[in-house]
């Protein structure tokens, strides 16, 4: 694996921003998109997990519950 957690987190954050108000994304949607974007020799599920954790711990994204758990921008963003 050579992609960095921060790079994957940044790419996920851009995707959440892009889809904001259009489609709710689940953790798995982001994971699949990142593996596709970075390639499966550069990025795997474990790395994506770490990237999501970093997004949550820094408050760049948050979870929302609407009949399922989704990753969204915090309300103040």
């Amino acid at each position: 694996m050579s992609a960095k957690v921060e790079d994957v987190a940044d790419a996920m954050f851009e995707m959440v921003k892009e889809y904001h108000g259009k489609k709710n994304l689940k953790a798995l949607d982001l994971t699949k998109a990142m593996i596709k974007k970075f390639g499966d020799d550069e990025c795997d599920k474990k790395l994506c997990k770490a990237a999501i954790r970093s997004l949550m711990d820094t408050g760049r994204t948050t979870y929302s519950y609407v009949g399922g758990s989704y990753i969204v921008l915090p309300p103040d963003k």
């Binding site: 689940k26 953790a27 798995l28 994971t31 599920k45 997990k49 999501i52 954790r53 949550m56 711990d57 408050g59 948050t62 979870y63 929302s64 519950y65 609407v66 009949g67 399922g68 758990s69 969204v72 915090p74 309300p75």
Partner: protein
């Protein structure tokens, strides 16, 4: 004369039965001056009168970094009942087996009286210690104070829900493995899955030390780990003879054995252990005379769920025996395999039991790399056609 603060004729009816009443408890809290409890009575009375619920749930509410543990609840009559405009539920990860010191409970209650309604539910159906009713702005403070005294939040949403277990070896001689230890280990190992929801829907673990299944794992969890044994039931014939004085062993024990694998000739109890299905009936009936065998471990079952959304499902056997005290890593691996395939192909809000029904048990087993065994057959086949795969025929 004290002023009567509220009129709750319909709620008052719920205090008239012989059982403890949640209404009485809410009134006690309101009488202490808790504004949210006062308004909770008001909105409940109104709901009963109008036959309409006034709660909305979900949305963006929680503590930083976690996607579970807080269930957002709001009232749609905030002007009339401002004390319950926000009434979020906090799920706190209970200790395995629900053992607390009274000091720990007092500390939790002090935190909750300081920040929330003071109302609790020991325990929710998943097993959590449930704190009922607080506003969004106090969530981080509650979380901090709870973690300061050694508690953490439990699961909610599409994640691993707080694992729960029976009291196992702490109090029960039937425990075939250390259900409390395994529950704790699994909880710690899957912290990420518990706090950061990433599944199509919820996943519940329950750990029962023996087939009595005091945590109802077989019906209420996606993965049930149930203690069992591989050798013979231990029999103390002298103690059996003692029971014969007060118990009709033929009528109440051997004839009630589901596989009729027991015999009683008036002086000796015999068991054909090959045909024992470990139902626990005989052991429960004569606890001083019979006990599970010595070669103990657990069986792993998958796919149970309560009726919510689709119908109820009972779990199906996947692993007939595992020495779980030693090999808990194997359970982790099995979970990872299942979560990969369910995560990839499961529909939103589809539990794993429903997913397995949809894709077929054979296909599911093939994907997770588990060999089919006769114990996995849930009922006799209804389709008379059998399809052999070409390579299987060639192998033979």
């Amino acid at each position: 004369m004290t002023e009567k603060k509220r009129e709750t004729p319909l709620l008052d009816e719920l205090e008239k039965g012989p059982w403890p009443s949640f209404v009485t408890e809410i009134k006690k809290s309101a009488d202490k001056g808790n504004a949210s409890s006062e308004d909770l009575l008001g909105v409940l009375e109104r709901s009963y009168r109008e036959k309409i619920g006034h709660w909305k749930h979900g949305g963006i509410v929680g503590v930083m970094g976690y996607g579970g543990g807080v269930i957002g609840r709001y009232n749609d009559l905030p002007d009339d009942f401002p004390g319950v405009a926000h009434f979020h539920t906090i799920r706190v990860n209970q200790p395995p087996g629900w053992f607390y010191t009274s000091d720990a409970i007092r500390k939790v209650c002090d935190i909750w009286e300081k920040y929330g309604s003071g109302l609790t539910n020991f325990h929710g159906s998943t097993g959590d210690l449930v704190l009922l009713g607080c506003r969004t702005e106090v969530l981080e403070d509650v979380f901090k104070e709870l973690t300061d005294i050694g508690f953490d939040l439990g699961g909610s949403g599409s994640d691993v829900r707080t694992p729960s277990c029976c009291c196992g070896k702490a109090r029960c001689e039937w425990a075939c493995y250390d259900s409390m230890q395994v529950c704790y280990d699994v909880t710690m190992n899957f912290q990420d899955e518990l706090h950061r929801p990433a599944f199509p829907y919820k996943w519940k673990f329950k750990f029962a030390g023996c087939p009595n299944d005091c945590v109802a794992s077989i019906a209420r969890s996606d993965m049930a780990v149930i203690g069992t044994w591989r050798d013979d039931i231990q029999v103390d014939q002298a103690a059996v003879a003692d029971y014969a004085g007060s118990l009709d062993i033929a009528k109440d024990v051997t004839r009630r054995c589901p596989t009729r694998c027991m015999g009683w000739d008036g002086s000796t109890l015999s068991i054909d252990n090959e045909n024992c299905v470990k139902c626990m009936h005989c052991i429960n009936a004569m606890p001083k005379a019979l006990s599970p065998g010595k070669d103990r471990g657990a069986a792993i079952l998958v796919g149970g769920k309560a009726p919510i959304i689709g119908g109820a499902l009972l779990s199906a056997l996947f692993v007939p025996f595992i020495n779980i005290d030693e090999d808990v890593e194997d359970l982790y691996e099995l979970c990872e395999e299942m979560w990969d395939i369910w995560g990839e192909h499961g529909k939103n809000r589809e539990r794993i039991g429903e997913f397995i029904q949809r894709v077929g048990l054979g296909n599911f087993l093939e994907q997770i790399g588990l060999d089919p065994i006769p114990e996995m057959v849930i009922h006799p086949r209804t389709n008379p056609y059998i399809f052999f795969e070409l390579d299987e025929e060639e192998d033979e």
